[in-house]
């Protein structure tokens, strides 16, 4: 039923979120690295070093284009200029995958540079499905949609996030990007079970998985509040949740994300080795 697989050519290997400071390590490197993910918006300039580097990298690795600014969950219409920029990037690069987030970031043409949450209702489901249809039509390929990190809940929500994502995949034919760290962060923050989330997740639609680090804080009542910071190593309970997930899903393209306080390459290489070990057991 899902045809996102034909537009998703990422190998079932480990990948890393590309940072320019690791260019030489990656170009010259060996090891388990099988593909790279870039943030689409960083490659929307007209030329210069970023584009030249990306062309070089694309000769050596399958590339996943991961958008962080499309605002698919917005109440308003999608930004047509931004959609056109995404289409241009996907046209010349022909990436192995394109993904975006179940979130919003633009409202009244102001971009807020964060992945903001939306309630899960029939009304928001219809709107997000329309936006995904529009994206897929403009870029001419199926996309993957990523589950968010949640810090709070909406009183108006009347659907589970897993059912919401499953219904979106069924209506639009999009695939899903399962961020295992986000599952752990959301479940801890909302006091639900991360394993139950995985059990309810439509794993057949998953075209990619993410792993990253988070920060630990507490809310005003002292309850744990985890923050999806992408600035640390992946913690053991998230590795365990990955193993739990892979045992059910089988091997998937698996990404290590480290976007803030980016470490030297050997630190990331260690994370990749551990992720590669987890994939080998799946």
């Amino acid at each position: 039923m899902l045809d996102a697989t034909s537009d998703n050519r990422l190998p079932n290997r480990v990948g890393v979120g590309y940072k320019p400071q690791h260019y030489m390590d990656i170009i010259q490197g060996t090891g388990p690295l099988g593909w790279l993910e870039i943030h689409a918006e960083n490659y929307m300039g007209a030329g210069g070093r970023p584009i030249a580097q990306l062309r070089q990298l694309a000769e050596k690795f399958p590339i996943s284009v991961h958008g962080v600014g499309l605002s698919i969950g917005a109440e308003g219409a999608l930004d047509r200029d931004h959609l056109a920029r995404l289409k241009h990037l996907c046209d010349w690069l022909d990436p192995a995958s394109f993904s975006e987030h179940l979130a919003w970031s633009t409202h009244d043409s102001h971009f807020l540079n964060d992945l903001l949450p939306l309630p899960y209702t029939q009304r928001t489901l219809a709107r997000v499905a329309d936006h995904i249809d529009q994206v897929q039509e403009v870029i001419g390929r199926k996309m993957l949609l990523e589950n968010p990190s949640s810090y709070l809940a909406f009183a108006e929500s009347d659907m589970e996030e897993t059912a919401f994502l499953a219904e979106l995949a069924a209506r639009t034919g999009c695939g899903l990007l399962l961020d295992v760290n986000n599952v752990f962060v959301s479940a801890t923050n909302l006091k639900t079970s991360p394993q139950a989330y995985i059990d309810a997740f439509p794993l057949h639609a998953v075209g990619e998985m993410h792993l990253g680090g988070h920060d630990e804080d507490a809310d005003e009542t002292g309850a744990p509040l985890l923050i999806d910071s992408h600035g640390k190593a992946v913690v053991d309970p998230v590795w365990a949740l990955l193993d739990y997930t892979l045992a059910k899903s089988g091997p998937k393209p698996l990404l290590i994300e480290w976007d803030n306080d980016v470490p030297a390459w050997p630190v990331l290489a260690d994370e990749l080795t551990r992720a590669d070990g987890a994939l080998a057991l799946a």
Binding site: E41, N42, M44, G45, A46, G47, G48, R49, P50, I51, A52, V68, G69, L70, S71, A74, E75, G76, D79, D81, H82, R85, W104, S105, T106, H107, D108, S109, H110, F111, L112, N113, D114, L116, P117, P119, Y151, L152, A153, F154, A155, E156, N189, L190, K191, D219, E220, T221, A223, L225, I227
Partner: protein, 245 residues
């Protein structure tokens, strides 16, 4: 209880407001600190984007001042596009009217320079002409020639020594900036933008050429102080000229 994105955004950008009703903790109570996570993400990520866009500005005013100024800027001018690499485009105009920065009147020009360098960094690639094609022209033909420039090429003129101030804050053992007006040329021969201090005459000549005038017209607007050989040598050497017409 429905929370609109208009309400969400208003509360995000105004720390004095409570989180919108309808956002809850897992126990069902009104969210407060949990909403602050989003508030913090927005403010910190936008201030970080401004820091990476304006490193010299930040050095000139200090970290604490810069962060406070960024907090005012990002609420007055939230991004209007998801391309964060171009965020901060209103910084020169903002600084002109930003009272706490009035004692450093050269800040808007430094912001303009840093924006121009970033624009040059991301500008489209362009193949330069070879110097021979200019040398091959007869003097009459040369004077009638118009140039097209690589998209990274820019001339910036300021009432302050922007080149000297920039250098003094980025290079070791740079000389102390002299108080004077300065003009400079920005080029990008490969991937890294370059800055070149221009004489007034060279700045006038290159600006006139960039406006689409012929070399003859550009030379007369530059006046007698123009060193034509040096000016053309600079443009050719930097790969700034892409077409002759």
């Amino acid at each position: 209880m429905i929370v609109t994105q208009t309400q969400f955004r208003q509360s995000l950008l105004d720390p004095a407001q409570a989180a919108p009703a309808g956002l809850t903790n897992p126990d069902g109570a009104q969210a407060s600190k949990r909403f602050d996570v989003y508030r913090n993400n927005v403010a910190v990520s936008l201030a970080d984007a401004l820091e990476s866009a304006f490193p010299v500005l930040r050095k000139l005013v200090g970290d604490e001042f810069f962060r406070a100024m960024a907090g005012v800027y990002l609420r007055k001018h939230p991004p209007t596009s998801p391309l964060m690499m171009f965020y901060g485009e209103k910084m020169p105009q903002f600084l002109q009217r930003f009272e706490p920065a009035k004692s450093l009147p050269y800040l808007p020009d430094i912001a303009r320079l840093e924006l121009a360098l970033r624009q040059a960094y991301h500008a489209a690639d362009a193949a330069p002409i070879d110097g021979q094609s200019l040398a091959a022209l007869s003097p009459d033909r040369l004077m009638a020639t118009k140039f097209k420039f690589a998209p990274s090429t820019q001339v910036i003129s300021a009432d302050f020594p922007i080149f000297g101030i920039y250098l003094a804050n980025t290079a070791a053992q740079a000389p102390r900036p002299e108080m004077r007006a300065e003009a400079l040329l920005i080029t990008r021969p490969s991937f890294d933008p370059q800055q070149h201090l221009l004489t007034d005459a060279a700045a006038a000549c290159i600006s006139a050429l960039m406006d689409g005038n012929s070399l003859g017209v550009a030379m007369s607007s530059a006046g007698n102080d123009l060193d034509l050989g040096a000016t053309l040598g600079l443009l050719l050497g930097q790969g700034a000229i892409t077409t002759l017409t």
